[in-house]
Subunit: 218 residues, 2 copies
Amino acid sequence: MNTTVVLLSGGMDSATLLYHLADAGHAIKTISFDYGQRHVKELTAAERISRLKGVEHMAADLRAINSLLGENSLSGRSVEIPEGHYEEEMMKLTVVPNRNMIMLSLAIAWAIQLEYDAVAYAAHSGDHAVYPDCRPEFAGAMDRAAALCDWRPIQLLRPFVDMDKGDIARRGDELGVPFDLTWTCYKGGALHCGKCGACRERIDAFAKHGLADPTRYE
Amino acid sequence: MNTTVVLLSGGMDSATLLYHLADAGHAIKTISFDYGQRHVKELTAAERISRLKGVEHMAADLRAINSLLGENSLSGRSVEIPEGHYEEEMMKLTVVPNRNMIMLSLAIAWAIQLEYDAVAYAAHSGDHAVYPDCRPEFAGAMDRAAALCDWRPIQLLRPFVDMDKGDIARRGDELGVPFDLTWTCYKGGALHCGKCGACRERIDAFAKHGLADPTRYE
């Protein structure tokens, strides 16, 4: 049986990843990272979705190392969240430096400890241009590092890498993912704001294939 | 000018690395990791050596994620520290899973935030056989990942990779490294125990080129 640690942010892509791999028969544990992000509601979402799916969830607390990560609009407090569709400059503000390498390194450590075979993450085609650590070449280097970091290779899985967010939403819809429990908004208010770049992408994802959007927006 | 984050454990190899790169004209900041190791005296050593050298030191607190790293004789409490020279099975007990990827990923994040060019670590030839993440192939994969994780490549430096601990001790001696301030012993008592694998390697390192060993052993 495949044994896989799933990086679960609590958003719609990683929730779909969890359901997709469970459907494929993987034994799964999920991991989330608390790096002091404003949208801490993601973490609550990750925990609820894991419980609903009956899998163990690990919340890795990185708040003590926030000073390494610097000022940015996710972990910092002095930068405003940009509104509107993601344009390159706006999106750069939401980058936590080296986030993917950090999250993968810790998920891999947990997989080694659990004697699990793989770590899965929900990289998709829409990320490539804006986040340097979403580029396929970066993913390839991490594949190789993960295969060598222990005597037993750890495989990195990213089954959605050639799909966009709209295609992921359709796959999640097929699998019965509880999208109403997922959280996307970077502002972390009572409801999704519907205006920030992340919310706009969420709205567009449901719209692409004409799916009903269960999200309550402000 | 070269701008470099140095992984400083507080042991003799990384202290020599700091002095070696400072001697080569690098502007340096140092980083250490507290993952709940018994030999927390390393961290105090790292801080004192950094202060003596006049460089900023960052202590990254990873204790909150200890449960990811599992039971081992460095971070765990229920495993005894083996005595005697490092034999393979004994040394494996001292492995924190995926430690090098975790430490490099966080040092790289800090370098990105600082707009520094490089991260240096004191990998040496004696580590290769026992620690999978000290193999040159692993280092090569991490080089590539570090070059791609941000739009501006981060270089990974390991100038001691073809030297053994005895050669590093000689280089440190030339540079006036305060070896009496460095800490090696895994037991973390008042003095170095002189018996654990790490202490044995330390003793052998000074002996190789007939250097005076300033360490006070139990």
